[in-house]
């Protein structure tokens, strides 16, 4: 390496990097700034300081109801995705049979298929079948779009497991299931947790499926937020946005601690 002090190109690189990060974070910092304004409307720059909007929002049944509904929905979706996704990953990684590629393509295709269109196709199906239970419909839709993530993360950790270990256990007398449970399962738990958490987060943030399937009695948080944007003009809306960002921050920390962010995204 040449040592000539700080070079011009380094300044350009770091400077532009800093500006781009600022651009990336700007809309995530702004709601916090707006939410403490002691004014009846959202104003910039904020005037005064108050936390009354947080108190107001946390007592608003529209917000708290949607929040808890979204949590329940996402837990169901993550559970369904794990139940459906883990055996699928095991089968796709461990078995060799004709049509394997086809099954793999089928199960992973919701990842590249436009989610908005998946939602339309589901709505059409549910209308044709007369299935009007919004909660069930939402769970099915969310399991559909979150299962591929579990399949991906669990497959990735399965590929790192040495199949010889499981064979050794079977040679020593363990049944196929016991060998899997006591030898392979502990090694793929990381991938499973990563997949389940990511399924939860994806479901919690999902808009493109929910927008077609929700009804007045089952409103996920993103839909509630959209409707509040058009009818709530006080800083309470900024407080809601700030609370949702805090929630995401908790999820980011959990994901990074438990699984590693890059691994979850498989990039």
């Amino acid at each position: 390496m040449r040592r000539k002090g700080i070079k011009g190109e380094t300044i350009v690189l770091y400077g532009s990097g800093g500006l781009i990060v600022a651009f990336l974070l700007l809309p995530l910092v702004l709601p916090f700034v707006l939410s403490v304004s002691d004014t009846p409307f959202v104003v910039f720059p904020p005037k005064g300081f108050t936390l009354q909007w947080y108190a107001k929002v946390l007592a608003d049944p529209d917000f708290t109801g949607s929040f808890s509904f979204s949590v329940v929905l996402s837990l169901c979706a993550a559970f369904g995705a794990v139940v459906l996704g883990v055996p699928t990953a095991v089968g796709l990684v461990r078995l060799r049979f004709r049509g394997r590629k086809l099954v793999q393509a089928l199960v992973l295709s919701p990842l590249i298929f436009p989610t908005l269109v998946t939602g339309i196709a589901l709505l059409r199906l549910f209308l044709s079948l007369g299935s009007s239970n919004a909660f069930t419909n939402l769970i099915i839709g969310h399991v559909l779009v979150t299962t591929p993530f579990v399949v991906r993360t669990v497959s990735a950790s399965l590929l790192l497991v040495d199949p010889g270990l499981e064979e050794a256990a079977r040679t020593l007398g363990a049944t196929r299931f016991v060998a899997f449970w006591r030898v392979t399962r502990p090694q793929i738990v990381g991938g499973l947790v990563a997949g389940a958490l990511f399924a939860f987060v994806t479901s919690f943030d999902n808009y493109a499926i929910s927008m077609w399937l929700f009804d007045a009695g089952h409103v996920p948080l993103p839909m509630m937020m959209t409707s509040l944007i058009s009818r709530m003009f006080d800083p309470g809306i900024a407080a809601i946005a700030a609370l949702m960002i805090l929630f995401s921050l908790v999820m980011v920390i959990l994901l990074e601690r438990l699984a590693g962010l890059r691994r979850v995204l498989s990039v």
Binding site: V90, L106, I112, T147, V201, V252
Partner: protein
């Protein structure tokens, strides 16, 4: 076709070939079939549920929706058979809808270009900067991905708001510059989409740059290339695989997005996503809505297939030139 009748005598040239028992092939077939059934049991047990789930709730509904786009709906809402391409023709022939189609392609293209330009500095810093900075930047780039798009769109609404209330206009006024009118224009959607989809470009790009052998860049530098030339002639061409993945992702996601055009484009600037929502949930025109949705699928598939063909060929020719 070889049949038992045409087979040569078994004992020609003195070699005795045991004639198979006529019942044998059947029994063998059965044994084979049983064995294969036993072998396929784990496959059915492990993959059966997901295969059924994704076939019944994904593949079939999508096929039915595509079929719907060729049917006719009478004013009272009943669907009649008889296949027609009229809905596709309407999307292209009616000025309003064609405008939406082109706006979608234009916005997706500009968003892809914008993310590619902004992604390089970050990707280079992640791949080549100090390790702690790379980790920090990775978290900072991924974290916004997990924040709801509605929340991010809300942030942009406040920043880009027209008139004096917008943060951007406030800043411009402080600097003594004029005001801009951005919210509810294509530019608002592009700016919001660039921010929302930037991580999808940075991550594959930083992976690709991380795979480039540092020795190649060092060699170019030793031979007298300036930092910009190293980037243009070494880093940029060798990062093309990552760029291809990123462009495909960003273009597909922008072209099929709903919430960003809905909150940042409003009623004034529509994209296919907002048009399809309006046609299905407000107008209840299912065949036309299905046709728009099908066009979105075609765009996304075309970009995916086209990009992988294009970037793969490029990578291959490069590899051949290099060898």
């Amino acid at each position: 076709m070889l049949t038992p009748q045409t087979s040569p005598p078994a004992s020609r040239s003195g070699v005795v070939i045991a004639r198979p028992d006529p019942r044998e092939p059947r029994a063998a077939q059965w044994r084979l079939w049983l064995a294969s059934a036993r072998n396929s049991l784990p496959a059915i047990g492990l993959l059966g549920p997901a295969t059924v789930f994704f076939t019944v709730l994904f593949a079939i509904p999508v096929a039915l929706m595509i079929r719907y786009s060729f049917l006719t709906q009478s004013p009272d809402g009943t669907i009649t058979g008889g296949l027609t391409g009229a809905h596709y023709a309407r999307l292209v022939n009616v000025d309003l809808y064609r405008h939406v189609l082109f706006a979608t392609l234009r916005i997706s293209l500009f968003t892809t270009l914008g993310t590619a330009i902004l992604a390089y500095p970050l990707a280079i810093l992640i791949a080549r900067g100090p390790a702690f900075l790379g980790r920090l930047l990775t978290v900072l780039v991924i974290a916004p991905l997990l924040v709801n798009v509605v929340v991010r769109a809300y942030g942009w609404r406040v920043i880009l708001a027209n008139g004096k209330s917008g943060v951007l206009n406030w800043a411009l006024a402080k600097l003594g510059l004029g005001s801009v009118h951005l919210l509810y224009t294509e530019w608002a959607i592009i700016i919001g989409s660039v921010q929302v989809f930037l991580p999808m470009m940075v991550l594959p790009l930083s992976t690709a740059i991380g795979r480039i052998d540092r020795a190649v860049e060092d060699a170019a530098r030793t031979l007298g290339a300036s930092a910009f030339e190293v980037f243009r002639r070494v880093t940029l061409p060798l990062s093309v695989p990552g760029l291809g993945v990123g462009c495909t992702l960003v273009f597909s996601l922008t072209a099929s997005s709903f919430i960003l055009p809905s909150l940042l484009g409003g009623d004034f600037t529509k994209m296919l996503g907002t048009l399809v929502e309006e046609q299905i949930l407000s107008v209840f025109d299912w065949p036309f809505g299905s046709a728009i949705a099908t066009v979105m699928v075609v765009i996304v598939l075309a970009v995916n297939i086209g990009a992988s063909a294009f970037f793969e060929r490029r990578t291959r020719t490069r590899a051949m030139e290099a060898s």
